[in-house]
Symmetry: C2
Subunit: 376 residues, 2 copies
Amino acid sequence: MIRQVPARQVSPAPRTAVVLGTGLIGTSIALALTERGVTVWLADRDRTAARLAADIGAGTVLPDADVARPPRADLAVFAVPPAAVAATLSQAQAAGLARWYTDVASVKSQPLAQAAELGCDLTTFVPGHPLSGRERSGPAAARADLFLGRPWVVCHTEQVRPDAVSAVLGLVECCRAEPVPLAAAEHDRFVALVSHAPHVVAAAMSAQLADAPATALGLAGQGLRDVTRIAAGDTGLWEQILAANAAPLARVLGAVAADLAAVAEELEQSTSASASARLKLLGGLLERGVSGVGRIPGKRGGARAADTVVQVVIPDRPGELARLFQVAGQAGVNIEDVGIEHSPGLPVGVAELTVSPDAVGTLTRALAAAGWPVRR
Amino acid sequence: MIRQVPARQVSPAPRTAVVLGTGLIGTSIALALTERGVTVWLADRDRTAARLAADIGAGTVLPDADVARPPRADLAVFAVPPAAVAATLSQAQAAGLARWYTDVASVKSQPLAQAAELGCDLTTFVPGHPLSGRERSGPAAARADLFLGRPWVVCHTEQVRPDAVSAVLGLVECCRAEPVPLAAAEHDRFVALVSHAPHVVAAAMSAQLADAPATALGLAGQGLRDVTRIAAGDTGLWEQILAANAAPLARVLGAVAADLAAVAEELEQSTSASASARLKLLGGLLERGVSGVGRIPGKRGGARAADTVVQVVIPDRPGELARLFQVAGQAGVNIEDVGIEHSPGLPVGVAELTVSPDAVGTLTRALAAAGWPVRR
């Protein structure tokens, strides 16, 4: 049913585009298109959001349909919630809004099925999903480089015409993203695994904290903060996304729940058994966990083990980090990542500088020579 | 059975101490004690580790018992795995190693029960647990300020003598940590919730990735990396810690598993029901998740919402961050936290600077004046 889109095809940018939905994703796409010289019209049910997007240079607000009409655009981009994609497509096609259509929703099968039910023309519709990797929202957080180097899934259906695919690949190139051709069902299984299930798992862990004693939360470290961070997202939007990918998500969550329930039972039984009994299920799960986390590409798509962390204790006051980075820069060391760990209530922090292993010696010597206490 | 230790008691530092176990925690304690003028002896089953700790200034390697004996120390600190605490205490007391004893294991009830079974003298033993909030290991990662401002649980049993508690509070003060008086059972319930269960939950999510297609993993964003990061820890040590806190951990994991299983079932049923049916369990879990994550104290113990993030696009080359921080420092702005988000494969990154809300205007103006493209 599904053919693969050839990656790295050089596709022309659309000359004109309509972006429906000017949240973070829609506005960022509009900014990228505008930067590449594409004429962009903007619309949003919240006209304030559309005007804000126009104000930051993302395009021109689409005139009301009953007042004036823009010329038919090359490409219409629907940056609307998954449940709104099919209806938006149907209306846009009825109005002859564009030659080609795409969306950016984070689920693909359900909107596609709904569009077919509504009798949409699927020869001009190419479902898409840019993975920006960000959790902020709203047009004010938008930027033209939001998708730079990030994967952008392009789903190629049996019905679609090659010129429509080419137009959407042109959009992806405008945004300087990496096209990833996937079938809709494959896409949905993959994002259930790497995005949707992690969100629910984080929420389930966080939910246990909702009624916990404050003293217990006072013992929390960075590990708990990391595990639960994404659970702070917009629940309304997430509920809609997760519901639209119900079957693949249910499979992953069911598997995680089964693993956790089995380990919980093993732990309960172990309290009555001999203390030296090995916990096979727990040990096995931890091993599989190490194996799984090692397969996640690092920030640069490389293995995360390749970089080394150098720790520097710094006074927590203006200018100290500047001095630190100046020394690193003068030594010609490129810092891949940086984090600061504060000691609660005290004016001292530890900067953790991630550098390539061959730069560790240079950096350590340069920092030590400049008087910084350094540990690897 | 358990009385509370009064917090903030001013306690004298021990004059002499023995640290058994020179991993990250033991060596860091030894460094802190040495810095405060305490005479410290070091021992580890791995004599190389003990010598390395001595080499970095943490104390003197304890002579072999059959060759020479140190004078009886004021305080012995057992920085050994939970399962080894009771036997270590028993042997140390038989040898008259110190006047008072404490440990740093991350579970408290089981070692205490084992020590009672072995007939240890519990009048001189004060179970302790410093929460360093770090995941590195080994003496080379040690530093004297590892516990600075961090919580240090001090368990005060019915049998213990006040002078033993006072000595351990002196140790906590030497390490500049914050003493948190808790009953052993309470401690174990709390760490099951904020440390042990999150570890297993992260492992269970990561385990699903072990056999996933590489293309799926290529779609991963920062959310998945955060949720799974701690699953990369030392499985042998973690299995032992988790097994020693089996009952409290089983309760939390059982509750998380039940929530996930219920949501998975609701999602499965929703695919056959009407698309507009509300997913009450999923929505409720997401809401509880937001509520729970909001209760975790921030890096400074304050609310995490108080700080604001300013984004700056930076070329990914040496010296750029130095220039950025210099401008911030000259403007008198203190940067609370910093992260860099790289765009895979391309020489551009986005620095995210966390500052207090009243500094945002100053920072934004200073960066803009210096030519940086800034977004909030």
